[in-house]
Structure formats: structure tokens, C-alpha cells
């Protein structure tokens, strides 16, 4: 009896020991509802993808932050402590060394009083460089809390002002070309129905559209707001909604970046689920430029929790020919997209 019990116990014990999990390779063993899965939201209907990648510019930047288009469709990329300038064909023309790390940039367009003038947003101030790369001015510092995330230049005959989005103070600063701060736009104001910019993370973009309005992303509300240069809120022109669906903006605060298309309309870039999309001038969804399969090809479960928790967020710009430039910091390149259907180009 005892012998049998002992032999049995030895056998069971040996089997048990061989089954002791020696690593976590088998996973947590938690049921499905403990999984966080965005897979279904990351697949995009191919019929909606209206663009194809036509080329790319490799960047030797470890942290690239912004892309902008200047006169003659020159391409400017800010990152590390420099600005790289490419011509429209993608040939590298020059490089401007900076003293600190740039966050954002804008270039005076052909219609501007000073075409090719470069406005670089550092964390708390704007620096101005001439088309030849010489530093012309360093504007006032905006204080410890300031986090400049975007700059736009008005590009018409009578308006030459510069608008800088300050995510830290949650306002837009308006400057004249000499660097004088003229006004703050978008501060919370009940009478004007301005709810204020809700900016949970340092992504806060703006653009000047051809209709002479300032369009500012209100990321926490997942919408794009319109203001006159004087700061008047144009409520009926607000557009955008929160949704993981392709027509909406995903996550807690999106779009992260936005640019105006030459013929009206917008190109937007979202973080979280990296997708670049086109919207019409009135805010209706038009189509997709690129989705996670292009912008985050190594999609794994871990992408939700990157090391250092640094989101690699793409920036976008559009040139006069309707090409869309997507700055892909993770891939260290600017991807150039053109419309699959050439009609699109002329239409937009």
C-alpha cells in the first residue's frame, strides 16, 4: 500500500515538476477581455486609399520633428539641431545648423512679403532665418511653460503675420513679421463660445487656409476650429469628430498634425493609429493617403507601449502640385505620396 502510494507520488511529482512554467513565453493566460486589441481598427479598406508613394527622402536625423514646403516647392525638414533643405526633386540643397532643438517650422510662401524666410519654433521661442540660412532674429521667449508645436505664415498680399501654436499655454500667438507679439487667439471665452484648446499631449497644429482663415486643431475635442486672424471664432466652420472609424479622429487627442491642401481641403495625421487622411474644404472625409501598414509596418502587441513611451508621430505637408509629404520619424525619411488617380490632383 505504502509502496504504491510512494511510487504514485513520485510519478505525479515528476510530471508536475516537468510542467512548472520556466518562462513567460506562454503568455499571461488571462482571458480575452484582458487583451487590448486595435487590430480591426488598424486595417483600412484598400478602396479608400487614394494615394501611392512615389518617392522618399532619406534623413540622417535621429529625431525629426517637422516638415514644411516653401517657395518653388522646396522641402524643409527640421530635426536634431538642424534644418535640411531639399529642392522639389528631392535633391538636398543645404543644411542650416541650429543652436537648440527645433519643434516646428514654417516658410514664407511665394505670395509672402519675404518668400523663403524660415520661421523655426524652438520649445519657448521663434527664430527667424533668411532664405540663405543666416539667422535674422530671435524672438522673445515665452516662458517656462511654453511648448511651441506649430507655426503658420499668412501668405497673401496684405497679410504677412505669423501664427505660433503654444501647447503649453494652450493658445495661438500672433506675431507681425518683425516679431512683435500682437495677440493671443483661442483663449477660453464663454461669450464668444470659445471652449479653449484642450491639449492633453504636446501636439497642437494650425494652418492658414486659402480662404484667409486660421484653422487650429483642438485635439482634445477631435476637431478643427476656424478663427479670423483677429481671433474671432467662426463656429459654423468647425468640423471633425472623435471615432476609431476611418472618417473620425481616433484616440484621446487627434489629429496631431494637419496641413492645408493647395486647392482647399486638408491633410491630417493621427497618432496612436498612424494614418494620414484627406478631408475636403468643408471637412468631409475624402480618402486615405497612408495607414498603419505603411507608417508602422512592424505592428506588434508591443507597439502600444513603446520604449520611452515616445510616440513616433508623423508630420504632414502638401506642395503646390498636390503631392503629400509625410515625415516618418521612425523610418527616418520623408515619404512623398501622389494621387493614384491623376484627376484627384487637379481636383484638389
Amino acid at each position: 500500500m505504502i509502496g504504491i502510494a510512494v511510487v504514485l507520488a513520485v510519478a505525479i511529482g515528476a510530471v508536475a515538476v516537468s510542467r512548472v512554467p520556466r518562462s513567460g513565453d506562454a503568455g499571461s493566460g488571462l482571458p480575452q477581455r484582458f487583451d487590448y486589441d486595435l487590430k480591426t481598427h488598424k486595417t483600412i479598406d484598400p478602396a479608400l486609399i487614394l494615394y501611392r508613394q512615389a518617392g522618399e527622402l532619406p534623413l540622417d536625423l535621429s529625431a525629426s520633428r517637422a516638415v514644411a514646403v516653401g517657395p518653388e516647392d522646396r522641402i524643409y525638414v527640421a530635426g536634431d539641431q538642424k534644418i535640411l533643405v531639399f529642392d522639389r526633386e528631392g535633391t538636398r540643397r543645404s543644411e542650416i545648423a541650429l543652436e537648440s532643438e527645433p519643434r516646428c517650422l514654417a516658410v514664407g510662401g511665394a505670395g509672402n512679403k519675404e518668400p523663403g524666410r524660415i520661421y523655426v519654433g524652438m520649445r519657448d521661442h521663434v527664430e527667424v532665418y533668411g532664405p540663405d540660412g543666416t539667422r535674422q532674429a530671435v524672438w522673445e521667449r515665452l516662458g517656462e511653460k511654453a511648448v511651441l508645436t506649430s507655426i503658420a505664415v499668412a501668405d497673401s498680399a496684405d497679410e504677412h503675420d505669423i501664427f505660433a501654436a503654444d501647447a503649453g499655454h494652450r493658445v495661438v500667438h500672433r506675431y507681425d513679421p518683425s516679431g512683435k507679439r500682437l495677440a493671443e487667439i483661442g483663449r477660453r471665452n464663454r461669450e464668444q463660445k470659445i471652449r479653449g484648446f484642450i491639449i492633453p499631449s504636446p501636439y497642437f497644429d494650425l494652418a492658414v487656409t486659402a480662404d484667409g482663415l486660421l484653422r487650429v486643431v483642438n485635439p482634445g475635442m477631435h476637431r478643427i476650429e476656424a478663427y479670423t486672424f483677429d481671433g474671432h471664432f467662426e463656429e459654423p466652420l468647425v468640423w471633425g469628430k472623435a471615432s476609431l472609424e476611418i472618417e473620425g479622429f481616433c484616440g484621446c487627442c487627434n489629429p496631431a498634425n494637419m496641413a492645408a491642401m493647395p486647392g482647399g481641403g486638408y491633410v491630417t495625421a493621427e497618432k496612436g493609429i498612424p494614418r494620414v487622411k484627406i478631408y475636403g474644404a468643408d471637412g468631409n472625409f475624402v480618402g486615405v493617403v497612408a495607414g498603419p501598414d505603411v507608417l508602422a509596418p512592424t505592428a506588434t502587441i508591443t507597439e502600444e507601449t513603446r520604449e520611452d513611451h515616445k510616440l513616433e508621430v508623423v508630420d504632414v505637408a502638401a506642395d503646390s502640385r498636390g503631392r503629400i509629404l509625410v515625415l516618418d520619424p521612425a523610418a527616418r525619411k520623408v515619404r512623398i505620396f501622389v494621387a493614384r488617380n491623376p484627376q484627384m490632383e487637379t481636383k484638389s
Binding site: 520556466r22 481616433c250 502587441i301 520604449e307
Partner: protein, 190 residues
């Protein structure tokens, strides 16, 4: 007779010699170990949040029934979003605390209205099982203010942490017991 007692004495002598040599050797080894550790602090286990991939192993591999690793919140890093992707399921029906909208399977995140339009989120540690689902949600879109830490009021500080063995990203490290947390945020704001 005399030879036998001689033999005994010799044996005793050798025995004593061996014992004393053993004791001295052991003492020397202890001295070496003590010298090697120096005045360093003893260590405890902690999760390096920069390495953590929120895989969920913390919830099941801890030797405790209820894991010692739980989610914590770095308040100064939080965006206080109305639509928090660490609190709400992807594409929630509505932005309220209805169970069907909540991401946390155990309902361990508390959502509190602060002021228009901000909401504060905090962890009810009694309910948190350390599955890290919210950490993924927060990191996917947000600031990564939700992250995993070993709670030392619960941790047994095992000689070799069972979660550390199972951790796929080697995020478990030994840290000094006098400074037992690897917080993402020190002090206030800025």
C-alpha cells in the same frame, strides 16, 4: 592502550585543525561577500516603466494570488482627457462610467470630474489585478501616464521574483530598498 589514545589525540588534533581552518575559510568568504556588497542598500524588485510592454504577465505570474504589481498613475503627466483611452474601451458608446464603456476588466479606474472639460483618473488598488490593459490603452494614444509598478506594501520581495522570470522585456530590476520605486515623474509639473 597508549597508542590508541595517541591515535585519538592525533585525530582530535587533525579534527580541530580542519574545523578551525573551515571556520577561518568561512570567515574569509563572509568577509569577501561583505566587502563586495560594501555599504550598498539591500535591493527590492521594481518595474522599469521604460522597458515594460504591459504584456499582462504581472497579473498571473506573481506568487501572490493578487499580484503585487499594479497600475499607478502619474498625475502630472496625465492629459485629464474627457475621452481617456486608458479608461474607455476603443470606440465607447458614451463617455460615462457605464460598465460597457470601461476598458478596465475589474473596474479599478475611478473617473472623477474636476472642471470643464477635465477629468481625473485614479486607480482603486484594491480592484487592480495588474493586467496592464489600461497601460496599453493609455500608451497607444496618450501620454503614458498609467504604468506598472511593484507595490511594496504587498510585494514579498522573493529571492527571485517569479514575474521577473516571466517578464518578456526584462523590465524587472533590483533597485535599492531605500528608493524602491521607479516613478515616471518626480516632483511637480514642468
Amino acid at each position: 592502550m597508549a597508542s590508541s589514545s595517541d591515535k585519538l589525540d592525533r585525530r582530535q588534533f587533525v579534527g580541530n585543525g580542519v574545523r578551525i581552518a573551515g571556520a577561518i575559510g568561512l570567515g574569509g568568504f563572509v568577509g569577501f561577500l561583505a566587502g563586495r556588497r560594501g555599504s550598498a542598500d539591500d535591493t527590492v524588485w521594481q518595474i522599469d516603466p521604460n522597458k515594460c510592454i504591459a504584456c499582462g504577465n504581472c497579473a498571473t505570474y506573481c506568487v501572490l494570488d493578487e499580484s503585487a504589481a499594479k497600475c499607478v498613475h502619474s498625475y502630472p503627466m496625465c492629459g485629464y482627457c474627457e475621452l481617456c483611452t486608458g479608461y474607455f474601451e476603443p470606440d465607447p458608446n458614451d463617455l460615462n462610467s457605464g460598465a460597457e464603456n470601461q476598458l478596465c476588466p475589474t473596474g479599478a479606474i475611478v473617473r472623477k470630474f474636476v472642471e470643464e472639460p477635465y477629468h481625473e483618473y485614479s486607480i482603486d488598488e484594491a480592484l487592480c489585478i495588474g493586467c496592464a490593459k489600461c497601460v496599453k490603452g493609455c500608451n497607444a494614444f496618450g501620454n503614458g501616464s498609467l504604468y506598472m509598478q511593484v507595490r511594496h506594501d504587498r510585494c514579498l520581495n522573493c529571492n527571485e521574483c517569479a514575474i521577473a522570470v516571466a517578464c518578456p522585456s526584462q523590465a524587472f530590476v533590483r533597485v535599492p530598498a531605500s528608493n524602491p520605486y521607479l516613478l515616471k515623474h518626480k516632483g511637480t509639473g514642468a
